[in-house]
Amino acid sequence: MRNLIPVLTVVAVIVAIWYAAAVWLNAQWVLDTAARQDREIGTSELVLETWSQDKPRLPAPHQVVTELWETTVEKNITSKRSLVYHAWVTLSATLAGFAMGTALGVALAVGIVYVRVMDMSVMPWVIASQTIPILAIAPMIIVVLNAMGLSGLLPKAMISMYLSFFPVVVGMVKGLRAPSRMQLDQMRTWNATQGQEFLRLRLPSSMPYLFASLKIAMAASLVGAIVGELPTGAVAGLGARLLAGSYYGQTIQIWSALFMAAIVAATMVGLIGLVQRLTLKRMGMA
């Protein structure tokens, strides 16, 4: 309860600023329309009209909420107009990319920790890979994979993977190196093999780092999937909704797609956080 009041206060302030901004940004259009129609317009009328346009510059919060409600609860989820359907299209690519990115990230981290040549050489390339704007290479990946006969989920998942392996590599290299000198020496006194050392010491020690990385990777994965949907001609997915919305000036649709993406991301990151809490508590590391 004590946490709720400050949170609600902040939310109320944001909503209030949003409504005010909607008035400010949409007023010109209302005034222009009224002038064209030779209509006198009062202040309260002006305000109400800025909050109820079809294609506002900035939709009011209740318009976005209504749109969200209509496109999720009131639509059959198999319908092309259902936001749940589009969210699932994006989410499935996100999860596939997240899984591949995590696997790639862990594999690279293991290589960096155990193979000296990789330790000296891989990290600069990993960092360089993230300095390339994903928007620039996403269309190329899509086109190239399409030419190879791959379309649909996989190209999008590849872009998700490209963004999500990075935090996993960085976190896992740190995590696998978390055991102290003493713990490693101790393994040596037992004449443990590298595999035994990895499974019994390095991997369990890296868990807190892994979960922190996975949260970032999940968010990056979602961004990757949405970006991957933009050049496909806007068929399905949250990215497609964003693109279609911007083609046709459907700002309400854009904002509701944005909120849907935020809700999906928050849910996924929250789930990882839950697994993290349970795991680390069981491992006595929380």
Partner: protein, 267 residues
């Protein structure tokens, strides 16, 4: 030899000859060990005492094949430290207990046994035995955070004993514990040593601890790290805690203190 039975002279467990170890650091070379000669017989309890930087821990790490000497020779059970390590000839107890928080006490003690490929039944048997030896029977299913610092250190000693090595290397194992707990653990360690007849090399910077525990006290001094005195203790094998108030005990303690002071004379 503390063994009462007459038997042929056994080879020393540890034998170091003209041992030198120089660390190359950014501030130039550091002479961590200089011309160290020492023999440790089977069943001995040897303490290494000296101020920090005297190389006592380094010497222990050389025996354990965790550091490589620059020159000279060390033999553990008559072979090189590396061969001894690979034969799992010694148990090493570190300054911190270093128990894995995600494993129970039993699981922690089982760890070296799993690594060494003991079968399940033998693992359970050994865990039960060593837990009894360090008086922790009944704590097998507890997690490390449920134990006090002293109990955790006992569990780590149990882990070092689990795989039946005849040599125990201990690096200030009780350094982080308070005096009362330390006294109790010293008493227990002596009892354990008497029961198991292991050879123990024990690093400490506490004079009473060294005198109370040892059959042989090696006094070391820093810059460069070297042995300044080796004292064969005349104290009997049976040692109640109040032996520390006897004149014999105080005399040895005095000699250790003198040795430590001599090492500092030209500082």
């Amino acid at each position: 030899m503390t063994n009462a039975m007459p038997q042929p002279a056994e080879p020393p467990v540890i034998s170091a000859k003209a041992l030198n170890l120089i660390f190359q650091t950014n501030d130039g070379p550091v002479h961590a060990l200089r011309d160290v000669d020492l023999e440790v017989g089977k069943g001995d309890f040897v303490s290494f005492i000296g101020p920090s930087g005297c190389g006592k821990t380094t010497f222990l790490r050389v025996m354990a094949d965790l550091e490589q000497p620059t020159s000279g020779e060390v033999l553990v059970n008559g072979v090189s430290p590396e061969a001894a390590r690979k034969a799992r000839a010694y148990g090493y107890v570190f300054q911190a207990a270093g128990l894995y928080p995600w494993r129970t006490i039993g699981g922690n003690i089982r760890l070296p046994l799993e690594i060494m490929g003991y079968d399940k039944a033998a693992q359970a048997e050994r865990v039960r035995e060593v837990l009894e030896l360090v008086e922790l029977a009944g704590f097998e299913k507890k997690y490390p955070w449920q134990l006090s610092g002293g109990m955790q250190q006992r569990a780590s000693i149990a882990r070092a004993l689990a795989f039946e090595a005849d040599l125990l290397l201990m690096d200030e194992p009780f350094g982080a514990l308070d005096e009362i707990v330390r006294d109790h653990l010293n008493e227990q360690l002596l009892a354990l040593w008497a029961r198991t007849r292991k050879t123990i090399c024990f690093v400490t910077h506490s004079i009473p601890e060294a005198v109370y525990l040892s059959t042989k006290i090696v006094v070391m001094s820093p810059r460069p790290g070297r042995i300044t005195d080796v004292i064969e203790s005349p104290l009997p094998k049976e040692r109640p805690l109040d032996i520390r108030d006897t004149p014999e005990f105080l005399e040895i303690a005095h000699r250790v203190r003198e040795g430590l002071r001599a090492g500092h004379a030209y500082d």
